[in-house]
């Protein structure tokens, strides 16, 4: 699908009631595809690791294809300018990790639980290990 990571888990409540923490999003990132308002994009702020999933609110595109756009979470009352890097007013294509094309609810909650509760992760790994041992043919 051309994307750096084709599946992401929704980490925050900023897109409720469409998406909740733990929902799974399927992404594509075809570079030639234009950015248009209404799209749900996953982007990263320069210098930060965490991908953000928000909706495109404004697009200004030049003839040569250079585009600047602004995003906002559905559940936020203000746009994302406060989230961007200091001095950054717009996002550009290079900031985009992918576009959300489809989604499945809840499934990603497992990865969030494993992140927040390491003991849960070890318990899952232990169970998997046990399962493998018991089912060896």
């Amino acid at each position: 699908t051309g994307s750096e990571s084709p599946i992401v888990v929704v980490l925050s409540g900023s897109m409720e009631p469409a998406f909740f923490r733990g929902d799974l999003l399927f992404l594509t990132n075809y570079r030639e595809e234009p950015i248009r308002v209404g799209e749900i994009v996953v982007f990263k702020i320069e210098g930060r690791d965490i991908p953000i999933v928000h909706r495109v609110l404004k697009v200004h595109e030049k003839e040569d294809g250079k585009v600047k756009f602004l995003t906002k979470g559905d559940n936020n009352s203000v746009d994302d300018r406060g989230l961007y890097a200091p001095g950054q007013l717009w996002l550009e294509k290079k900031d985009v990790v992918g576009r959300a094309r489809g989604f499945v609810p809840y499934v990603g909650i497992v990865t969030i639980l494993m992140n927040d509760y390491p003991k849960f992760k070890y318990a899952i790994l232990a169970c998997l290990g046990l399962f493998v041992l018991i089912h060896r043919e």
Partner: protein, 161 residues
């Protein structure tokens, strides 16, 4: 079980989610003021009132959790070949009233241009679109059938809107 889920999804996968929309505008003015939310340069700021009528009830089915509606103003300026600004949006969840009938309402978001391209702009097109959010499945964007073109005046306005 997974096959059953997939088949359920398939039953709604090919719905068109289309509907017709009536859009109109009343007064439209432009001011030229510093954009404190952005680069603080003097930019064009448009003010409009608009009408909107649409019946979206037929779009909802068991696999439509919510519609995210957004009203887009699209126009061309000498700085940018394509500009799209969302000036109003609304979430309608399944079960809520999906008949829209607004008269002379204000925009929800400021209509800033990135530059000074609204004054004298003869062709600004308003369209209403919706992003269909399913219980599970794809997230299509659909544009309503029915757009509306309007123009901004040739002079800046110093008056209150």
């Amino acid at each position: 079980m997974a096959a059953l889920t997939f088949c359920c999804f398939l039953t709604t996968a090919f719905n068109s989610h289309k509907a017709s929309v009536y859009l109109g505008t009343g007064k439209a003015i432009v001011k030229n003021v510093p954009d404190y939310s952005a680069n603080r340069e003097k930019s064009d700021l448009g003010f409009i009132v608009f009408d909107m009528t649409a019946d979206l009830t037929k779009i909802f089915n068991w696999n439509v959790k919510q519609l995210f509606l957004y009203l887009t103003a699209e126009y061309e300026t000498k700085d940018h070949q394509l500009n799209q600004v969302v000036i109003w949006d609304k979430i309608i969840r399944r079960g809520e009233n999906a008949m829209l009938d607004y008269r002379s309402i204000n925009t929800k978001y400021y209509f800033w241009d990135y530059g000074n391209g609204l004054k004298g702009n003869k062709n600004v097109t308003l369209t209403l679109s919706w992003n269909v959010i399913p219980n599970a499945g794809t997230l299509p964007k659909v544009m309503g059938e029915g757009s509306h073109k309007f123009k901004f005046p040739d002079e800046y306005s110093a008056n209150r809107f």
